[in-house]
Symmetry: C2
């Protein structure tokens, strides 16, 4: 998917909501456990109920790997369902991968070719030759960790290097890499006040913003400091939407929560 | 597996060799492609031929994920085969994972419980709460990236923070985390001269050292600067061993290469 196609979808749906499909079998409605594939059954119901309200879905691979082969099968079914039924929706494999050159190429093939996601999240610690193999794929997007939403972000990401925080150095350096136009970045909503400075370094890039809702980030603040002419934001909510109810009405409840966020986004876009 | 059990095995086999099981279907003997599971068939032959020469095996998960479900099945069969036939051998899931707290717990379950590896590699960028969930597992080991063997290591890992390189700060900080005794670290053999400084910070910890062989690292230099009283080194070789031959004799050829390294190690240990 091209960035222009993503922007078109945002304008059409008046939404820049991404829904995180982080399926924990202990948290889903227990009647689904009788299904042949409870994880996929849950995802399908959530997707069917919310696809008109969001522009992206983001399964976090950890939740699938934790269930072994059946988890990977559920991930494969989920991405296939999305690509068949809703090819206009942007898909993110939240995998936070990164390895040396030839090995990163294998990860890129896993997520861009075998599973056919539009994008994958990667970690920056190993530098240029760990990220460029992902950037080489045309019309695929590589979403690099910059400033994450957790407390541990302050352990290393905000340390001062070359008179600026490490995450700013990561942003600066990444702009020099081959095919840097295929980069997006993860910036946590819990650190919205940092977004003004971040936009000085990457004025146009799309940001994937986790942490609105359950983690306490504020949508208005994120938009105030982070929004661009083409929106430039993918606001993720996972638990706040998919676990809105543990009863039979879980999908409706998820749609209600997604709709609330979409309406806030529509108001911001038309302001 | 406890660290003491690992040390006992090193002394018994007079080896601290780790063999990387990075299976690329384009590089294995082509007659294996007729097998039902070519990846596992290759790994089984390599393990059968080399298990007396090494003390650890390290599948890099990227190579398995690239083949989707069948890749994950091959990974599962490989770890099960190792745990059944050679329970004394240390197993490393080279996955370089890392995510926020509850999500890292899912990754830890995937590799320590579902797949029953002894250890997993993790990335440090997201800080304490992304690594501690792995450290909570008793008699399991978390191998954190410190100074990697690739060129991109110089992009961020060696930048100066608090008057020392970032990777040293990562080492220092990680020592304060809960259950830090379960930490090991990745330090590339291509940067052996850094090992003397690293040992000042972590005098006892085991280091996983990739980059000997194909990437140009030197075994003698690594041992000179990095070895401890209990050895403290796991020297990994992947391509140099497993792709020693593409013919029918590939397993014998791999054993020959592994034996050469084991003999060098035995000489160093008895010096």
């Amino acid at each position: 998917m091209t960035t222009q196609q993503l922007v078109t979808q945002i304008k059409k749906k008046k939404s820049f909501l991404c829904i995180g499909l982080d399926v924990d079998l202990d948290k889903i409605p227990q009647h689904l456990l009788q299904e042949e594939d409870p994880i996929f059954a849950f995802n399908k119901a959530i997707i069917d109920a919310t696809h008109h309200l969001c522009i992206a879905y983001k399964p976090n691979t950890a939740f699938y790997e934790a269930y072994g082969i059946k988890g990977w099968k559920a991930l494969e079914k989920t991405i296939n369902y999305l690509n068949e039924k809703h090819p206009e929706i942007f898909t993110i494999a939240d995998a936070k991968r990164g390895d040396i050159g030839n090995t990163s190429t294998m990860y890129a093939k896993a997520f861009f070719e075998d599973l056919a996601f539009d994008s994958v999240t990667v970690a920056p610690y190993m530098g240029k030759d760990s990220v460029e193999p992902f950037l080489a794929f045309e019309n695929k997007h590589t979403i690099m960790l910059a400033l994450t939403s957790n407390q541990g972000a302050f352990d290393f990401q905000t340390l001062s290097v070359n008179n600026q925080e490490l995450y700013k150095q990561v942003l600066e350096t990444s702009k020099t890499w081959n095919n840097a136009q295929n980069l997006m970045y993860v910036v946590g909503a819990t650190k919205a006040e940092y977004l003004a400075d971040i936009r000085k370094i990457i004025p146009e890039s799309f940001l994937l913003v986790p942490g609105v809702g359950a983690q306490g980030g504020n949508l208005q603040d994120v938009c105030k400091y982070g929004m661009t002419d083409t929106v430039g934001l993918l606001i993720n909510s996972s638990r706040g939407i998919i676990y809105a109810s543990k009863e039979n009405n879980f999908a409706e409840a998820a749609a209600k929560k997604a709709s609330e966020l979409q309406q806030q986004m529509e108001a911001i876009l038309s302001a």
